[in-house]
Structures are given as C-alpha cells and as structure tokens.
Amino acid sequence: MAEKIKFTIDGKECYAEQGQTILAAALDNGVYIPSLCYLKDLIPAGSCRICNVKVSGRFMTACTTPVNDGMEVENNTPELEELRKSIVEMLFVSGNHFCPACEKSGNCELQALAYKYQMMVPRFPYIFPEKEVDPSSPKLFIERNRCILCKRCIRSIKDESGKSLFAFKKRGNKLMINLDHELAATMTDEMAEEAMEICPVGSILRKEKGFDQPIGHRKFDKQAIGSDIKSVI
C-alpha cells in the first residue's frame, strides 16, 4: 500500500492518497470544503469555484488540485468564506432562482449554501436572464432558469455505451445544458431519478414526482450542508 502524504488544512494534520485532490482528501479527513460541481468518483470540473482554498498564498480549486507532501491548506478563513459567499450570490443573480415554488427546495445544494452563508440578499444586481425550459422529454423537465452549469449531469448520466445524455449547447452567456432526446427516449426510471438526484439545484426535474417528499424529510431540513462530513481515515 502506497505511503500516505501528510498535509494540513487550517493547521489540522491530514493524510492523503497519492494523487488525491485536496477536496477528496479533506472529505476523507472529516474536513468540509464547500462545493457544488464536485461529485465523488467523477472527473472534477472546477467550474463552480466554491471550493476555492488558499495554498502558499494562492487561490486554488480544491477539487482539481492534487495534494503535495507538506502542503498547508487554508480553508475555513473569513477571507475564503466571504469569497465563497460572493460566488453563491453571483450564482443566484445569474439565474432565476425562486425557491418558494421550487420542488428542489430543501434538497437544493445552492439553497443550502445560501443558508450556510446567511445570504439575505445578493450584493449584485439581479440579471433576470431569459432562459428556456425544455419540457419535451417524457421523463424529465429541464428547467434552465436554475442551472448553474456545473456539468454534473454531463459527467455522470451516460448510456450503456458511455455516451452522455446531456451536453453543453451554445457559448458564453448563452451556454446551456441540453438533453439528447434520442438517448433520453431510452432512459430508464432509475436513470431519470439519478439525473434529478445528481443535479445540485432544481434544474433537472423528474416528471410527475414533484413535492412527494414532505417538509421535514428533505436533505437539508434538519442539518446544514456539510455537517455530516466525518473522517473515514
């Protein structure tokens, strides 16, 4: 068994496997680094920037940066927490997030982070971009108003031959997720369920299932995001 690498997060001694990223290693060591686009076992995208940490005075995304021996990582500092809060606020203003009527409310990671950072109102002006929904799939309702372009769906929902059911379409501020309707027609109920589950926000909705989970039983009803992280090392 390869020797573990020793490093610290906010002064706490931690251990990582060779080649492990800061974020994955942090989770194994029971340290929570907030993230949205990260999902265990997927190739990291580094797209949401919430997991920014500081190493040797430089900002780095914890989900894409491998741990080095002796690395000193700053995570839970006022500067980083403020930076993360500002990113959460930016995500809110760059989409159309109306939590009161969203069925992902209570299970939404973006909303949970907003609660964690006690966001009352974003510091940035709302953009209210025009977004189109895609209701045409028999099993999924694609609600692009809430999409944060994390690529979790693109990276994880694939058919038997490994083809992604989701892809990016257009560029720049027109960038959006798109569902391949030919592939979607072959989608099983389990895949549809998984697609909704892996979406950190309310952008991929399983049709006809909305609100079947009562308030009080949703993921973040009783515990804050990240509070369940425990050391496995």
């Binding site: 069925e103 929904v133 009562p214």
Partner: protein
C-alpha cells in the same frame, strides 16, 4: 357642487383597496365603488410551468389562506392525473386534506373575528380609532384576545402537521397527500396542555358563538339593519345537501330560498358562471350566466353557505344552525352583519370536524396517493374561509400548464361588497359635506363583514389600508382621510 369621497386604503381587511363615493350638487350619493388597486397576474405567469408545481406556486397568492389555494389547485390536478374529484382519492389522501382545510378554516375565522372584527363590536364602530384595534382589545379584553391568538395558533399547528409548514406548505400533491399524521402530532392535538387541545378549542368556539349571540341581543337593530339587502347565494354543498367545506356540488339559491342552481358538477362551472370586467377595478364581477349581469350576481362565504345548505353534519354546529335559521324563518338570511354569526358557527363546525378526524386511523396509515389516466383539463373548487374558490388548469402533452383561470372567493363577493358600500354611503353620507372618521369606518365595517382578501382577489401584493377622499363635481379634492 358634486363631490367625490375616497376611502384609501381600506383597513382591517386582507389586501389593498379603496372606496370612492361621488356626491352630487345636493350632496346625495350619486355613485360608490370599491376599487381593488392591486394587480398580480398569477394566471399568466403560471403558464409554462410544470403542472405539479401549481399547488405550491399559486398558494403564494396569499399568506392568510394559502391552504385554500393549495387545496383547490391540488383538487384540479387530481382530475388531471386521473384521480377523479373528491371521493376519488385514497381515504388517507382525502382525510389529511380535510384536516388541513378545517385547520385553515378554524385559524382564518378566528383571525378575522378576534383580530379584525372584534374591535368594532367591543368598542363600537364610532369609537376612537386609537383604541378600536386589536391592541385595544388585548388591553381591555385580555381573555378574548388570548382566545383569538391561541385558536389561531391551534389551527396553524394543524396546518403545519398536515402541510409541512404553517404557511405555504407542500402537503397536497396531485392525486393525494405526501405524508401521514404523526402519533406525536395526533396526541398533541387531542390531549395537549390547555388550551392547546381540541376539547378546549370546541369549548372556546362555542363561547365565541355565545358571545356573538349576546352581542346580537343587545344590538339587534344595528346587526339586522346595517347593509341589509337581498341577494342570491352560492356555495358547494355535499350531495345530500349538507354543509361541506371541502367538496361537493354547486348550489345557488335566490333571496327567498328558491334553488337557481343545484347539483352542478363544478367541472362544468364555465357553463354557469361568467366574469365581467369593469374598467375601474382589477377585480372581476362574476355572475350566473342564465340570470344575466343584473340579476345573476351572488354572495359567497359563511352566510351564503348557511343559506344554501340544508343542515350541518356536526351536532353542536347543527344546533346553532337551527337557531340561526329560525331568525329568518328558515328562509335565506340576507343580513350583511350576520356573516359574522355564520362565520362563528363554521368555526365551531370546523373544530368538531377536526375532533372527528383526529380519531380516524386513516390519517396515520394507508396509501397516500392514487392516479389514473391523465387528461388535459381539471377544475378544483373548495369552500375557502371567504367563500367558493375556483381553480381551473389546462395542460399540454409536455406537462406544462397552458391555461389557468382562478375565481377567488372575494371576487365572487365583488358585487355584494359594492352594494354594501353603496348602502352605507347612502345611509350615512347623503347630505354630508364633511366625512367623519366613524362614517368612514362604517363603510369599512360593511366591507369587513365579507372578510375580503383583496390580495387574492386580484391574484396583488401590499398592505391593506383604506383611503377616503372627498371630491367636488370638478374632481377637486376637498377632504381626505387615511386610516392605517
């Protein structure tokens, strides 16, 4: 010189409205109107949304009785998902929704009577406004104020236990409900420490009815004569003619009790009810098509319900109902101020129904939802605290809502409220050159009897003050008073 009086905003009602009264050269009332100045547009922006979102989205119309919108929308969607109407749901689905609805009815009626109306009754509509308010009630009649607050709290807790939250929950979903009642909640509602248990709530509801009956004895002339006028009355009734606040068929009676609509399946409401738009208000004017605009308008709400139903299926409320009916020799009651009396009988009925339901094992176990073949149109109707509430949705083959039509309780009462304003204006302001505060409050007392929710009625946002202004014939403002 003719004048125009404006009362803006109207206070101690839910929502934002104003009243204008035009006086002619002889200071006689030439025209009076209740204007609803809010605009919301829920019917439009729900279009394109996935249909299962409607019960949660549309209830945001209101913070006072969101449960009514939540349930009316869910009932419409039951039809769309093939679960049928009313009795088509599983026992658990229907009974949990009923418990939610009775909790809602209970808290809303308690709020209206104790917080909004009792100041007028306890201090008189012409008392100093500085004490004629809920704080004044709390200072001078502490026991009554505590009753009001605790009854409302009980109803809100029932809503929390069934919908998930006291305001804007998610309990009712197309085809049923998303949870059972927990043992802990059941025990709390049945045997919680005084006063938070159902026995105390029934006792207090009866005491509220008794309070009003005593008040009535002492102020019979005022209660009977204030804003009295004949009208039609419309509501849901159970198939057998019983009062049913959750489900039934449409029935309407005229002022003498003749049935002018009966046993109508509300899926076909469009055949019978039409809405008229008038340029000066965002609130439409519904009427029964076959009687036309002039004769087809009707009242809804507690008074209308007790006029249309044949009996109340709970013993204590039935006893009060019989006494109430005897006041008008079994004929429909057209006394505007008797809305308060009818409302409190319904408060008692709701408490009794909650007690029965809490003993029902179906709340604790059983299938939550049911579904069948999907169709593209559904109508849900419920008796909300303020009256009959219609939700109508149509969807496309991609599960998006393409059409929504809401006829809200207060909208149904639009014409009667205008008639009431006109009655009071004629009686109190004819020949007057200056408006006194009691005159202005008298107009509000008439509006308040209907417990209007102006926010819901325009599907609007804002507070609820009343602004009265007096204009001369050339529309020059000569006097204005605003109550907060």
């Amino acid at each position: 010189m003719s004048k125009k009086i404006t009362i803006e905003p109207v206070t101690r009602v839910e929502g934002h409205g104003k009243v204008t009264i035009h006086l002619d050269d002889q200071n006689q009332v030439a025209q009076s109107r209740l204007h609803i100045v809010e605009f919301r547009g829920f019917e439009r922006f729900v279009q394109g949304r996935p249909y299962w979102e409607a019960p949660v989205l549309v209830q945001r119309l209101c913070g006072i009785c969101p449960v009514s919108h939540h349930l009316a929308a869910a009932k419409a969607l039951d039809v769309i998902v093939g679960a049928g109407t009313g009795e088509g749901l599983t026992p658990t689905g229907e009974k949990m929704r009923r418990l939610m609805h009775y909790g809602q009815m209970f808290q809303s009626h308690a709020l209206h009577f104790f917080h909004l109306v009792s100041p007028d009754l306890l201090f008189g509509y012409d008392a100093d406004p500085a004490i004629r308010n809920v704080i004044g009630v709390a200072m001078k009649h502490k026991d009554l104020a505590v009753m009001g607050v605790m009854m409302r709290k009980y109803g809100q807790e029932v809503i929390r236990a069934t919908a998930g939250k006291k305001i804007h929950g998610t309990g009712a979903i197309p085809g049923g409900i998303n949870k059972h009642l927990t043992q802990e909640d059941k025990e709390f509602f049945q045997t919680g420490p005084d006063p938070m248990n159902i026995e105390k709530m029934i006792e207090w509801s009866q005491a509220s009815v008794d309070f009003l009956k005593n008040y009535y004895k002492e102020h019979k002339a005022f209660i009977d004569e204030f804003a009295y006028f004949p009208s039609n009355h419309l509501s849901l009734v159970r198939k057998d003619g019983a009062l049913d606040l959750y489900h039934g068929v449409l029935r309407a009676v005229d002022h003498e009790g003749n049935k002018i609509l009966d046993d109508v399946d509300y899926q076909e409401y469009e055949k019978y009810i039409q809405e008229e738009v008038r340029s000066w208000s965002y609130m439409k004017f519904p009427y029964l098509k076959h009687l036309g605009k002039e004769k087809g308008w009707y009242r809804v709400g507690p008074l209308a319900r007790l006029n249309t139903c044949d009996f109340i299926p709970s013993p204590m409320a039935q006893k009060e109902f019989e006494e109430f009916k005897s006041l008008t020799n079994g004929k429909p009651n057209n006394h505007c101020m008797h809305y308060h009396y009818a409302r409190l009988i319904e408060l008692l009925h709701s408490a009794e129904m909650m007690k029965d339901l809490l003993n029902d094992p179906d709340l604790m176990e059983g299938e939550l939802t049911t579904k069948g073949a999907k169709i593209d149109r559904g109508v849900g109707v419920i008796e909300a605290p303020r009256g009959t509430l219609f939700h109508h949705y149509e969807i496309n083959d991609k599960d998006q809502i393409v059409k929504a039509n809401l006829i809200v309780s207060t909208t149904n009462n639009n014409e009667p409220m205008n008639k009431s304003v006109n009655f009071v204006a004629n009686k109190m302001m004819n020949g007057q050159t200056e408006i006194s505060e009691p005159m202005m409050n008298a107009v509000e007392v008439a509006i308040r009897a209907y417990d209007p929710c102006l926010s819901c009625a325009t599907h609007a946002l804002g507070k609820m003050p009343l602004d009265v202004s007096l204009y001369d014939a050339k529309d020059n403002l000569i006097d204005r008073k605003i109550t907060q």
